[in-house]
């Protein structure tokens, strides 16, 4: 056991750090600092820089375009991304459907989809949840009927993140309504431009348009777009959820979030006019949160080490999801507490060149919307109640 990085690892860290410093798009940095909403091209710009360098998919095997890093290198890489406060690479292609395709897909599917996921040419979205199938995902009702070499798909998906930009979606559909819930499901890749696909916005508490409803009406999907066997889609679904959960811990991002919290608490003052970070109440809460984060970090590192030794992400990733999301939410609570009165104004970005400017200090603008929005983290990706069920069943054998 050794916590210190080797000279090679330190050199790798320096290489990553200087690459980010030299290549992070300055326009993107400007928009982030101003709290502006990011458009599709903004979100893709950093993805493309990483793709050109071959670093966009750290966990992918080398043969499919991954960099061939070990767990320590991947850890260092994600630390450095968070340290530099880069925007996250969207998970839907890289972390979700990509691994499903290279694990379960045909050679044709791999050749067709993986390069375009890496390059960012295809934007992916996830068609899992339905209005009646949330935590109970296996009760999904979207129906795919085989007609010759096509499926005809009908149904409704919801909470589809950033589907408004998506070129492709991966969908769980029911191909055998007579089978037990988990046995009649298939995993389909659907071109979002196919006639019959309609994307409708859902506006969330902070006023954001992040998620959507996706309606599917007689959507014709070639059978060759099914991944893995018919009625075996649940295998892909479970695999994907476990992969989704490891990234969901968000340790490096939370470290960055705590740094930002501290920076805010150095500027904001308490009732006596002292910096909030000098206030014993407040700083103890920050210290407590840092303990939680260190515990999560080393739990994740142990999981990563297990993965490196050939044990795939298993039920223990549920622990990372629960604790990781609790910490992410706690950070947003403390930021909102820190900004005091200026949590209240509803933030509106004004167009460039406008004489108007938002109310209150910049660090307060998104404090409340972010707090509201981050309640989603204990709900999505399998709610934290479901994660506890998984641990109870799979780890404790209850």
């Amino acid at each position: 056991m050794d916590l210190a990085f080797s000279p090679e690892e330190r050199a790798f860290r320096d290489e990553v750090r200087s690459f980010i410093a030299d290549n992070y798009p300055p326009e993107l940095r400007g928009k982030q600092d101003e709290g502006e909403e990011l458009g599709k091209e903004d979100m893709l710009s950093w993805h493309r820089v990483l793709a050109r360098k071959g670093w966009v998919a750290p966990a992918w095997p080398k043969e499919y375009g991954g960099p061939g890093w070990n767990a320590t290198q991947r850890y260092i890489f994600s630390e450095e991304l968070a340290r530099a406060d880069t925007i996250p690479v969207l998970p839907f292609g890289i972390n979700m459907v990509g691994p499903v395709i290279y694990t379960f897909g045909t050679p044709e599917q791999k050749a067709r989809f993986l390069p375009r996921i890496l390059s960012g040419d295809d934007w992916w979205c996830q068609g899992y949840s339905e209005p009646g199938a949330g935590s109970d995902l296996a009760s999904l009702r979207t129906r795919a009927e085989r007609q010759g070499d096509h499926y005809i798909v009908n149904g409704q998906k919801t909470w589809t993140t950033l589907a408004q930009h998506a070129d492709w979606g991966f969908f769980l559909v029911r191909t055998d309504p007579a089978a037990k819930p988990q046995e009649g499901i298939s995993f389909l890749l659907i071109d979002m431009k196919t006639p019959g696909v309609t994307v409708r916005p859902i506006i969330t508490l902070g006023g954001e348009h992040e998620v959507n409803e996706v309606w599917l009406e007689n959507v014709k999907v070639p059978v060759e777009n099914r991944v893995f066997e018919e009625n075996k889609g649940w295998t892909c679904a479970k695999f994907l959820l476990a992969h989704e959960r490891t990234g969901i811990a968000g340790v490096a991002r939370s470290k960055r979030g705590i740094e930002r919290l501290k920076a805010i608490a150095r500027v904001e003052v308490d009732d006596d006019g002292q910096p909030l970070l000098m206030n014993p109440f407040f700083r103890r809460k920050v210290a407590d949160l840092e303990c939680d984060l260190t515990a999560l970090e080393f739990t994740e590192l142990r999981t990563l080490a297990g993965e490196a030794a050939g044990r795939g992400p298993g039920p223990e990733s549920s622990l990372l999801k629960v604790k990781g999301t609790e910490i992410q939410q706690r950070i947003t609570e403390l930021v909102l507490e820190a900004v005091g009165h200026y949590g209240a104004p509803y933030f509106r970005a004004f167009p460039e060149g406008s004489n108007e400017y938002p109310i209150g200090p910049a660090h307060a603008h998104r404090a409340a919307p972010t707090y509201f929005n981050m309640r989603k983290t204990s709900i999505y990706g399998g709610s934290n109640e479901i994660q506890r069920n998984i641990i109870a069943k799979m780890v404790l054998g209850l």
Binding site: D270, G273, G340, H341, Y342, G343, A344, Y346, F372
Partner: protein, 381 residues
């Protein structure tokens, strides 16, 4: 000991509750928020004329109904249930309280106008660097031959855009944080030298940033004694805090009901999620917070007329407890709703947003615990 309401108090609650149920349902509220100006002024008019409740807490000598803190509590609970964006606290409790304390011509003319719904008062006590300490203010007031002149900035003045008057704290002496030197002014909103930036808040209210630049507010704007207003300001804030507790208790009660309804009808794994023990226990924990919020609200409300230290302890205990409970209950409500709780479509999310803002209004949990600690140390010394 008696926790029952009088017949008059019961009628007050029933008539307001009926009005809000019939004319202020969630969809109607959302439509009002979308109107130019962010509200429907007809509601305030109706509270004044149709229901005649704006005088509930004023003495009969001023044309009021002769009630006090309990009447305020009843009204605030009902407004909280409906997450109504009506400035009763600001106008009738804080503004009215200041006028009653000051007496004189202001009280004679303005209290009847408040009761009639013609005067709305915004409470300008907070500043960008004051946090929740009403003494840590930098806005200055000085007197010359023509009266008082105000200079400075006030933060997040609720109802600022449509208030007819502002109740403003300003320094006539000393430095931010000093207990001495704080004075209280009542100024017309249209006074030259006052400029405003208006905006909506995250929970659907309208508020303003106020900028005073050589604002000559006249010789009669001072309420109470020059430089000695802090005890009165603290009392007003304690009354406002107790009212905020009542509002939060109403909001919590309704959000709990909404969550219970949702859990009963939402089916997953072949049964309503209310059948799952983890959900049942959460709903029970939420109910316990509702009941404690109500208890704490009663406790604080009934002690508002005690000497300052006892009043402060009662109010800060209530707000510290309710701030914590409101956060728990709001988060638990959203978690139980799942994704739909985070959308703007359902009422639950809007109750959650309002509760989040109520948590820190007139001081968050830390502020009130620190105040309680200071009282404890003062007592031990």
């Amino acid at each position: 000991m008696d926790f029952s309401f009088t017949e008059t108090q019961g009628m007050l609650r029933d008539s307001l509750a009926r009005y809000l149920r019939e004319r202020y349902d969630f969809d109607t509220r959302q439509k009002m928020l979308a109107l130019e100006g962010g509200r429907d002024p007809a509601v305030w008019k109706a509270l004044a004329e149709e229901l005649g409740i704006l005088g509930a807490g004023f003495p009969e000598a001023h044309g009021g109904l002769g009630g006090g803190p309990v009447e305020h509590m009843v009204i605030m609970e009902e407004l909280g249930r409906a997450i109504a964006v009506e400035p009763y606290l600001d106008t009738c409790i804080v503004g009215g309280g200041a006028l009653l304390a000051a007496g004189g011509d202001h009280a004679e003319t303005l209290i009847p106008a408040i009761i009639a719904g013609e005067v709305i008062i915004g409470f300008a006590w907070a500043e960008a660097r004051s946090r929740y300490n009403p003494a840590r203010i930098a806005t200055r007031a000085s007197a010359d031959g023509s009266g008082w002149t105000l200079d400075g900035d006030k933060a997040v003045v609720i109802a600022g855009p449509y208030a007819t008057h502002y109740l403003v704290t300003a320094r006539t002496a000393g430095n931010p944080g000093d207990r001495d030197g704080v004075s209280l002014f009542l100024v017309g909103a249209g006074t030259a030298g006052i400029s405003r930036r208006d905006y909506p808040t995250v929970d659907g209210w309208m508020a303003s940033e106020l900028h005073f630049e050589r604002a000559n507010v006249g010789p009669h704007a001072l309420l109470g004694r020059e430089g000695k207003a802090l005890p009165l300001v603290e009392e007003l804030i304690d009354r406002a805090t107790a009212a905020t507790c009542a509002e939060a208790a109403g909001t919590m009660r309704r959000l709990h009901e909404l969550t219970l309804d949702y859990a009963r009808q939402r089916v997953q794994f072949g049964q309503p999620i209310s059948r799952f023990q983890v959900i049942q226990h959460r709903l029970v924990d939420m109910l316990m917070e509702v009941e404690q919020a109500v208890s704490m609200t009663y406790q604080a409300t009934l002690r508002l007329d005690l000497p300052a230290a006892e009043r402060a302890r009662a109010v800060s205990q209530a707000k510290a407890k309710i701030a914590k409970g409101a956060r728990f209950l709001g988060q638990a409500a959203i978690q139980t709703h799942g994704g739909i709780g985070i959308t703007n479509e359902l009422a639950a999310g809007h109750y959650f947003k309002r509760l989040t803002m109520l948590e820190s209004r007139f001081g968050d949990q830390d502020h009130h615990l620190a105040r309680l600690e200071a009282l404890m140390l003062a007592e031990a010394a």
